[in-house]
Amino acid sequence: MSMNGSRDRQVCSKAIPERMSGNEAVSYAIKQVNPDVMPAFPITPSTEIPQMVSTFIANGEIDTAFIPVESEHSAMSAAIGAEAAGARTMTATSSAGLALMWEELLLAASNRLPIVLTLVNRTLSGPININCDHSDGMGARDTGWIQIYAENNQEAYDNYIQAFPIAEDPRVHLPVMICQDGFITSHAVENIELLETEHVRRFVGEYRPEEFLLNPGKPVSVGPYAISAYSMEAKRAQEAAMERAGEVILEVADRFHTMSGRGYGFFEEYRTEDAEYLMVIMGSAAGTAKEAVDELRNEGHKVGIIKIRVFRPFPEKEIAEAIHKSGCKAVAIMDRCESYNGNSGPLGSEIPAGLYRNKVMVDTVNYIYGLAGRDFTVDHVKDVFKELAQVAQGAKPAPHHKYIGLRE
């Protein structure tokens, strides 16, 4: 997998240096894409996105039709209607807003509608709390949406622009969720390199769906009732589209690399070569983990990071191969979400399953960190690597499902 941010190709678009928060970066990407319809309902910490897009519309900068709806249930319902009618449609939400979309998320996917949703990750209640963890996105992990997670504002921006060509590819036709960490990424202002709008528009292209409702003379029925003799086949066909999405995600990333100079894969391998101990992590905390890895490498410790970018479809084979290739002795699997299954978080279940299926036998320890905005620091990462070494050397048994920074 390629390293993020490296400018190693002939670049098509001029880089425009700016300073933006994650919400600003995604809103700016929306302005550049100029989608047809945005139904949305505000919820912290994603509220700024519909607010900023509304301002662009009011200023006449884009001609997106904004639908102010009475709930997120309505927002996703309107998005389904608009997309089925033939309009390029997107929305934004967080936490309970995504939970209220639950029923419609599944319909958007099963009706094969390439809607793009920008999710600003926030914990699900309860206890009620507005800060970051991944419980909202992880709760929707089996709804049939493609999910791509960002480490910072640059990746949120870059991932957003790639979402439309992935979703709208005839081999895929699935909705895409572009995720960034609430407040940590969404509200923190960082340096960013924007692309020229004409290049973004050319990259995304005109939306020309093959079939849509508002198409005189070519009637189509969307979402019909299916008896048992057809439902199972329909679900298998949907899963096949998710399987095909992997190759499309890589193709789109390759085109994006050519335009921007920034390369992306299913995940990023950071200093994993010859690593004895690896950490698999997703979202903004990967930045913290990289800092810790740099410091540990300077002290002679062989440690590295696998940062997951594409969570659905889940690249289990590629992750297992990357772990195998490193030859590491033990892996820390980091979950910013509890699964309440009595064993592990979501990544703590899926990665070991992938290792087992690919016959890669290595010790793993699942850590739960950063729930509801709890701090996750460089020292925490160092402690995890220290514990991994003790486990691998047999000095202590592998902890079962351990919380970081918990008062015990």
């Binding site: 009706n111 079939e211 019909p224 298998r236």
Partner: protein, 102 residues
């Protein structure tokens, strides 16, 4: 992309189904014989019927065809036997019979 859905049946492999089970045609519900769901059946007494046409617009399944200002017999392929027509008839010309047969 457009598929003639009459070629799709209960033996079709999943790869032959349309995307999201979309139907590339209009009025396809006509092909779905919902009359099989009926447990009671309306029966029209032609002698009592005055052709007032109060019954036709209240039928939720469009199962009372009207031609040239006159109602025809029920479309039993789609009538679900709800009995609204029998309730609304001012002349007692429609009676509900137990069972699926008229």
């Amino acid at each position: 992309m457009r598929t003639d859905i009459t070629y799709i049946n209960e033996r079709s492999p999943y790869t032959d189904l349309t995307e999201g089970l979309q139907l590339y045609a209009g009025g396809t519900s006509r092909l779905f014989k919902t009359g099989e769901w009926r447990t009671n059946t309306p029966v029209l007494d032609q002698d009592k019927c005055r052709q007032c046409l109060l019954c036709a617009p209240v039928c939720p399944d469009s199962s009372i065809p009207v031609q040239g200002g006159r109602r025809l017999d029920f479309d039993y392929d789609h009538c679900k036997g709800c009995g609204i027509c029998a309730k609304v008839c001012p002349f007692g010309a429609i009676t509900m019979k137990e069972g699926i047969e008229a």
